[in-house]
């Protein structure tokens, strides 16, 4: 996978130098063309800012969404409204030379329309695995004219993941993990989410066998799955979740009975970004070190 990404980089660089303009195909097949490396970037989703910070390119970020608070320095920047309803007037006023959007909801694309009309370059990405994440980082490297920093970031992420891999490389039966996105009205992470890839990279097995990103689920199905490890997130989707052992119907689950329950930070696990590596390390520690 690393080789593939590296190959991608080799292809992109000569193109750039030959035409003296920067172009990238975003995750929806649209060609994004910039005359010069992006200097004023507005991200409609906080994950992009995290990536830019991790590449030491925070001077390129000119705004944040109302909900962004990581890294702490970002709070100083002006807000362009919420992730769900960005204010195009505020964005245009900031005079950005690149607007980044994350796909997810059907309205994600509509938010970009008024910006495109004004000729502001936009790019939309979809991240459901580490593979996608590396590709996104490479593309941001290209768009900002800093491919070396992208390479460095991807390198360090892969290196850390390989280290985690050593912990469980000899183990054949991967422990089952259930990841709760929200409760009540239980939502679980399906196979099509970055969380699922985090579980795999941490040496676990996502027991929710559904190709969707988010899976609605009754308590009875949860009891049927009867996972060995229960991970629940706390954050904007799951505000002040009750401890599973205090919930009706949860006491019968294997994980709750044996105490293999982990509470994690939503923004580290569910939001695609460099911190997903922290998520893998945390989860691997939980699965393999504290038995």
């Amino acid at each position: 996978m690393f080789l593939k990404s590296f190959f991608l980089l080799l292809v992109i660089i000569p193109v750039n130098s030959a035409f003296a303009e920067i172009s990238v195909i975003d995750d929806f097949g649209d060609k994004v063309v910039l005359k010069s490396p992006a200097k004023r970037i507005v991200a409609l989703y906080g994950a992009f800012n995290e990536i830019l910070f991790a590449m030491d390119l925070d001077d390129r970020i000119v705004a944040r969404t109302a909900g962004d608070d990581y890294p702490a320095q970002i709070i100083k920047l002006p807000s362009i409204g919420t992730h769900m309803r960005p204010n195009s007037e505020l964005i245009v006023a900031l005079n950005p030379d690149l607007v980044l959007q994350m796909a997810g909801r059907s309205q994600a694309k509509t938010a970009l329309e008024p910006l495109k009309e004004r000729g502001i370059p936009t790019a939309m990405f979809k991240v459901t695995s580490f593979e996608d994440l590396y590709s996104l980082i490479w593309k941001i490297g290209t768009l900002t004219g800093e491919p070396k920093r992208a390479e460095k970031l991807v390198h360090s992420m892969i290196g850390r993941l390989d280290k985690v891999k050593n912990k469980y490389s000899k183990i054949k039966d991967k422990p089952e993990v259930f990841f709760e996105i929200r409760y009540p009205n239980l939502l679980a992470a399906g196979q099509g989410s970055i969380v699922s890839d985090i579980i795999v990279k941490a040496g676990g097995d996502n027991c929710v066998d559904n190709p969707k990103k988010i899976v609605r689920m009754g308590e009875e199905e949860l009891l049927r799955l009867n996972p060995e490890n229960y991970v629940y997130q706390s954050g904007r989707m799951n505000q002040s979740p009750v401890v599973p052992s205090d919930r009706a119907h949860f006491k019968m689950i294997k994980a709750v009975r044996s105490g293999k329950v982990l509470k994690v930070d939503e923004s580290v696990f569910s939001r695609p970004g460099p911190r997903n590596v922290d998520a893998v390390e945390t989860l691997a520690d939980f699965l393999y070190n504290k038995n």
Binding site: L186, G218, E219, L223, V242, D246, H249
Partner: protein, 348 residues
């Protein structure tokens, strides 16, 4: 009519235990009839089955509690609908006419919304999974109080002012819910799903929470069920017969308000049951209120038990539909068929 009525009630009474057992057979977990039967037998005869076994837990704590709760909620909604249709002399009246449901929905929305604040987070921790129904219940009771106070403007409890007060309160509360939704986008889906009505994740604690309100609401309705017949003749006629119309109306409204409020608090808003069940029963056995209330409550309970079975077993992979969607999908077409048949029967 009398014979038909007795037969109908007998059939309904027979269907209740059968349905309670049969509804416990459905769910994501694979269970055979014999296994469920064994669990029931040992539960009734006090067998020595260990409570650790997940099969008996699923049957008694997940399924049976849900079946009981949906039966009680269905009963309450059908009874409240019957009472409202009788008092307000309006065939369109349903349990949600007086805005009690909007009150409950606002209470629940506020609880969901408050999850992001320090105070709300503390309350969530303290009450756990019962915080939501408790908040909804408080909202329902506050709305009921507000409607009754508004409706009494001018001294007596008038039919028209009641309906208007209900609409005003419901509209205002809906606006407040929209305000909460637009202030906190992350809780929108939680609020929407709560409002659609579901028995997912409900257990015996919800039955315990519901039961006192069920009993307190049923008492005045049963006590004044004959007066409902007189009231449906019209206010003047009832007054001429020497009835204290205002007082009877108040008790009946409070009774059905308690039923509705508690029902919505534990399950969310489940439409159609309270509207169509009384009409259906009236077509089969006439409009006399005491038998009407009895049959409606049984039919309402049964309808909701089976709607919930559909809601939890229709989608693969343990996904659930909101039961309010199922009742509306079943209720609409079914009612149309019965309505046509009913009219044809009346004409011939």
């Amino acid at each position: 009519m009398e014979k038909r009525r007795v037969r109908a009630v007998a059939v309904l009474f027979f269907l209740v235990p059968v349905s309670v057992f049969a509804a416990c057979l459905f769910g994501a977990y694979d269970t055979s009839v014999a296994q469920v039967y064994d669990v029931f037998k040992s539960a009734i005869l006090g067998g020595v089955e260990s409570s650790e076994s997940s099969l008996s837990y699923i049957v008694t704590d997940l399924r049976l509690s849900r079946v009981c709760l949906s039966f009680l909620v269905g009963m309450s909604l059908a009874v409240a609908g019957t009472v409202y249709q009788g008092i307000l002399r309006n065939p369109l009246a349903d349990p949600f006419t007086l805005g009690v449901s909007s009150g409950a929905a606002f209470g629940a929305s506020l609880a969901i919304f408050s999850g992001s604040t320090v105070l709300g987070a503390g309350l969530w921790l303290k009450f756990g999974s019962l915080f939501l129904p408790l908040a909804a219940l408080a909202g329902a009771m506050a709305a009921l109080g507000a409607v009754l106070m508004l409706g009494r403007i001018g001294g007596t409890l008038r039919r028209e002012t009641m309906v208007l007060a209900g609409i005003v309160v419901a509209t205002f509360l809906s606006a407040l819910i929209s305000l909460l939704k637009s202030l906190d986008e992350d809780s929108v889906t939680s609020i929407v799903f709560w409002i659609m009505g579901s028995f997912q994740g409900r257990g015996w604690e919800h039955v315990t929470l519901f039961l006192p309100y069920f009993i307190a609401g049923m008492i005045p309705i049963i006590y004044y069920s004959r007066e409902l017949d007189i009231l449906s003749l019209g206010e003047t006629q009832a007054r001429h017969l020497g009835m204290d119309v205002s007082r009877v109306r108040l008790f009946l409204l409070v009774g059905s308000g308690l039923l509705t409020g508690a029902a919505v608090a534990v399950s969310g808003i489940i439409g159609f049951v309270g509207l169509i069940v009384p009409h259906l029963v009236r077509m089969f056995q006439g409009a006399e209120h005491r038998p009407l209330l009895l049959s409606s409550s049984l039919l309402g309970g049964l309808l909701l038990v089976w709607s919930d079975v559909i809601a939890r077993s229709l989608l693969p992979g343990g996904e659930e539909l909101p039961v309010g969607v199922v009742t509306a999908l079943l209720g609409g077409p079914f009612f149309c068929i019965v309505l046509r048949g009913g009219f044809r029967g009346a004409r011939s």
